[in-house]
């Protein structure tokens, strides 16, 4: 027994025979455990769905907590002297940035963006930045874009500061690292939707709540990558620094931080991307800006208008992503410092001149006549698509028929199957899967998270959500692996695919929702469809990357042995890319869960609906319980699919 536990806690090797051996051991231990515990549990409580006796009803305490907050929000010192200041600080700083951007005018902001991009990423990206900013203006979205940008600047700065401090702590102290790691891991898998309700309750609808929700969502990657960078520093360099007699502080500032530059910039990149995606979701709680335009357009089922506001978001995301990524790549290749001062001066003069010129010409606002409406043609295209594809297409049937079949033949059986399973067997399956792929710790976490769902009394809706996630993940993986393999084999295909993936990955999830309803009707099928579209790019990307990184020598030797293309793929590339494929599965699951939850807005029901209901009715009891259940479900799914090595971040 003792030897089994000891060997199991070590990470599994990828040598098949050893793995099979270990796997058998782990399963045996679980089987023994189950044989002891299950009869007892089944006799003590019921078998079947989660027993009523094991649930805790939180609606009373949560309801009174919510009432207390509303009654004391304008009088209690906690709010007046703590939350009040936080909120005030956010309002003042967002306002300052916003007024600065407005004062600079479109010419000034464009010049500033281009100058910064030029400095850190080169001339081509500078041109791209300018073009993207002007495109936002041409779409008639200048002011909302500036609002979103102001909110983003504050949120990203705050996230970076918070994340870097946490990361510093975790990077320098082992104890902090052990304490923080599970927290950061958990935050990384949380769907953004689950954060909103508690923040709204304390801060009320509006920008402060939106900024804080964004910071909570976007800070973890920064913290994680900072810690990673600090810990990954080259031991020999550090030893050399030590031998020169540097103090701990000097060592940090002159060796460890500079060595971690790459990770720090990658962290910044991830933080920006997550902040941007949250800025859109936060429109539900009154963030304003572009997200609000998307949300309002959806209310009148106007995909075109939603797209007009969605495109600036995509442009911002692509530009920010490319510029920060390029900045990371250029680090170390170039010497700074010497030219920095005159350069900054020249840039400042140029920006001021541009702003002034526009102001003198009386054109700080983008002229109304210079905008182009895209809403109408897009709407016409969407109408045509739904009119011709919805149903009655000869031979293949319409999309509505597919959705119906998918619901009846896939979603319903999976859901009733899951809900039919006795509760203890679900826990066992979760534990077994998590243990096979990870350690006994991950297995314990996964099983506990699943049990927590039952205790909260949302067992059934959670299994409903789980069934949607499973179906969506299956579809995503089939499509994603196929596309990824194709992209890895053909350079041209990958070049074609890249901008498409960029767009789909950064498009706010809300924009997908209406076209999928038009194509698949209301229900769980459109929620699954939206989730597939959202998760696909990450899966394709990771698969293609993994296949491409397979050692060329291994491929060459396979080819020299006369293996055909298919044989090479099956016997060399896929086995060697196994870690990447597992990572793709994990990412797919996390992303799918995020969108299946948002699918509550299009009839996905289950947990997503409860969260939407909680937000809409200000009902903390329903919303928060569902939110916690989502967190637990996310945790379970992540642990069940996560190999022992950790990933670095979402998307990208």
């Amino acid at each position: 027994m003792a030897t089994t536990a000891a060997s199991a806690s070590r990470p599994a090797l990828s040598v098949p025979s050893v793995l099979r051996h270990r796997a058998a051991h782990k399963l045996l231990v679980l089987a023994v455990l189950a044989a002891v515990l299950v009869p007892f549990a089944a006799a003590r409580w019921s078998s079947g769905s989660w027993p009523q006796a094991l649930t805790v009803d939180l609606s009373k305490p949560l309801g009174s907590a919510s009432n207390w907050i509303i009654d004391n929000r304008d009088s209690h010192p906690l709010f007046l002297y703590f939350f009040g200041y936080i909120s005030e600080a956010v309002v003042v700083s967002v306002r300052a940035v916003y007024l600065f951007l407005l004062a600079a005018g479109w010419a000034g902001v464009t010049a500033l963006g281009a100058a910064v991009a030029w400095r850190v990423a080169g001339a081509r990206l500078a041109l791209g930045t300018a073009a993207a900013l002007l495109a936002c203006a041409v779409l008639g979205m200048w002011v909302p874009t500036m609002q979103t940008l102001a909110l983003m600047v504050v949120a990203v700065l705050a996230s970076v500061v918070v994340g870097a401090l946490l990361g510093l702590a975790a990077g320098l102290s082992d104890r902090m690292d052990r304490a923080l790691r599970p927290v950061l891991d958990t935050m990384q898998v949380l769907p953004a939707f689950a954060y909103l309700l508690p923040v709204v309750l304390v801060f009320g609808i509006g920008v402060p709540a939106a900024v804080l929700a964004t910071v909570v969502y976007a800070a973890p990657p920064m913290a994680r990558l900072t810690a990673l960078g600090l810990r990954g520093a080259d031991k020999e360099v550090l030893e050399a620094v030590d031998s020169l007699g540097a103090t701990a502080r000097q060592r940090l500032l002159t060796a460890r931080l500079p060595l971690a530059r790459k990770e720090l910039l990658l962290g910044l990149n991830q933080t920006i991307m997550m902040a941007l995606s949250m800025a859109v979701i936060a429109s539900v709680i009154g963030a304003g800006g572009l997200g609000d335009r998307v949300y309002q357009a959806l209310a009148s089922v106007d995909v075109g208008a939603a797209l007009a506001a969605g495109i600036p978001i995509v442009l911002l995301a692509v530009v920010l992503d490319r510029v920060t990524a390029a900045a990371g790549e250029r680090l170390g290749q170039e010497r700074h410092g010497v030219r920095a001062l005159p350069y900054a001066a020249a840039a400042a003069v140029a920006v001021a001149a541009a702003a002034l010129a526009a102001r003198l010409a009386g054109r700080t606002d983008w002229p109304a006549g210079w905008t182009a409406g895209i809403a109408e043609p897009v709407d016409r295209a969407v109408d045509w698509m739904t009119a011709h594809l919805y149903s009655g297409v000869p031979y293949v049937g319409g999309t509505a028929d597919w959705a119906g079949h998918f619901t009846t033949w896939v979603l319903d059986p999976v859901r009733s199957g899951l809900q039919w399973l006795p509760w203890w067997s679900v826990l066992l399956i979760v534990a077994a899967l998590a243990w096979l792929i990870g350690t006994w710790r991950t297995a314990l976490t996964a099983a506990c998270a699943m049990a927590a769902i039952g205790v909260l009394g949302v067992w059934k809706p959670s299994l409903d959500t789980l069934s949607q996630v499973l179906a969506a993940v299956a579809v995503t993986l089939v499509l994603g692996f196929a596309t990824g393999i194709a992209a890895a084999r053909s350079d041209r295909f990958e070049r074609l695919l890249r901008p498409v993936l960029d767009v789909f990955q950064t498009m706010p999830q809300f924009v997908y929702l209406i076209p999928v309803v038009a194509l698949f009707g209301v229900g769980r099928a459109p929620a699954v469809a939206a989730a597939v579209v959202y998760a696909l790019p990450a899966v394709v990307r990771i698969t293609a990357q993994g296949l491409r990184q397979v050692d060329p020598a291994a491929l060459e030797s396979a080819r020299s042995l006369g293996a055909t293309g298919a044989q090479q793929l099956r016997q060399v590339q896929l086995p060697l890319a196994r870690p990447a494929l597992l990572l793709a599965v994990n990412q797919g699951v996390v992303l799918v869960l995020a969108v299946v939850i948002i699918g509550g807005l299009v009839g996905g029901g289950a947990l997503g609906y409860d969260v939407v209901f909680g937000l809409a009715q200000g009902d903390l009891a329903t919303g928060l319980v569902a939110g916690i259940a989502i967190v637990c479900l996310g945790l379970t799914l992540d642990r069940v699919t996560q190999p022992t090595r950790r990933r670095t971040g979402k998307g990208a």
């Binding site: 909120s87 009320g204 304003g288 959806l298 009839g603 809409a616």
Partner: protein, 322 residues
């Protein structure tokens, strides 16, 4: 030795900032406006827009008149109904122009906390009910009585309704007793929540395009009736107080005069804007006209409002404060 100095400096700086921000007293969140309000020193009014198009029409016309006749800048925020009350009491928004009746919130904020002031009637009467498309009502005239609904349940079956008939509901934020109604009237139906009004409208239009039968929760006034004619299904008649216990409701929805509410501080010191919003009152036809321009002809709310304002001068002249 340098470290403590830094820390002290930091604390001093933080203290200085905080006193700069708020005079270092209490920072009351309920007195904080949106950071986007009042840019460039203009007078700003923030209006709450609910997710349905009728509400967008109210706001679009009010916004147009406030901007062009009274010289205000108007910000709009889309918020769900209940959170909008919360935002209104905190002053994050200045006014709600169309409220469908929230007795709990009214008691809490208007009567107890006095942070919200009633702003009079909108002039439009709202009604919620169950509807079937008129083409279906013509085929089966007796379908418009709830007693016959069970007979036709199989017509309304969908993959989502699990063998029962589907009653399509909309956004979770709307006022609804449908689950209790189905239960208490012993109907063989399943309530399927579309999750948002946009999703519900899209689904209804898809059904209508193919002349398929459907039964839906819907409300008047609503522009969709002009595109998809629908007939109301008669539920047991509404009597005062029959919907008091949410679990035991077995009667139709009432006819609700829609109301406006203003933030109490804004109502007192909001000047011309507050006076204007209190007087704002129009008819169902007016509202539908604007809604149809927005939702069906895809005009921007601002353009639709402009069009309406240009042709109804006599109506809105009376709203302007002298």
């Amino acid at each position: 030795m340098r470290k403590p100095v830094r820390t002290t400096a930091l604390i001093a700086a933080a203290a200085a900032t905080c006193s700069l921000l708020a005079g270092c007293g209490a920072a009351d969140m309920t007195r904080q406006a949106s950071p986007f309000a009042g840019a460039r020193g203009s007078k700003t009014v923030t209006l709450s827009v609910q997710s349905w198009v009728g509400a967008q029409s109210n706001v679009a016309v009010a916004q147009y008149l406030l901007e062009h006749e009274l010289g205000y800048r108007v910000d709009t925020v889309q918020v769900d109904e209940v959170p909008a009350w919360d935002a209104l009491s905190q002053g994050r928004v200045d006014a709600i122009l169309e409220d469908w009746g929230h007795p709990d919130q009214e008691k809490r904020y208007v009567q107890d906390k006095k942070t919200i002031a009633p702003g009079g009637d909108l002039g439009v009467t709202g009604h919620i009910g169950w509807f079937v498309p008129t083409y279906l009502a013509r085929q089966h005239p007796d379908i418009t009585d709830w007693r016959n609904l069970n007979k036709y349940a199989s017509l309304f079956r969908t993959p989502e309704s699990g063998g029962k008939g589907q009653l399509l509901d909309g956004s979770p934020s709307y006022v609804t007793n449908d689950k209790a109604l189905v239960n208490n009237l012993k109907l063989d139906y399943q309530v399927v929540f579309a999750g948002s009004e946009a999703a519900q409208i899209t689904q209804i239009r898809q059904f209508a395009k193919e002349k398929k039968p459907f039964l839906t929760y819907w409300y008047m006034p609503q522009w969709l009736f002009k595109k998809v004619p629908m007939t109301e299904v008669k539920l047991p008649p509404y009597k005062e107080g029959c919907d008091a216990d949410a679990a035991k409701v077995a009667c139709a929805y009432p006819h609700t005069p829609l109301k406006k509410y203003l933030n109490a501080g804004f109502a007192k010191s909001g000047g011309k804007a507050a006076a204007f919003l209190k007087k704002f009152k129009w008819t169902t036809e007016d509202q539908n006209e604007v809604s149809l321009l927005i939702a069906d002809q895809k005009l921007t709310p601002a353009d639709a409002a402009k069009k309406w304002v240009n042709t109804h001068k006599s109506t809105w002249k009376t709203w302007l404060p002298r």
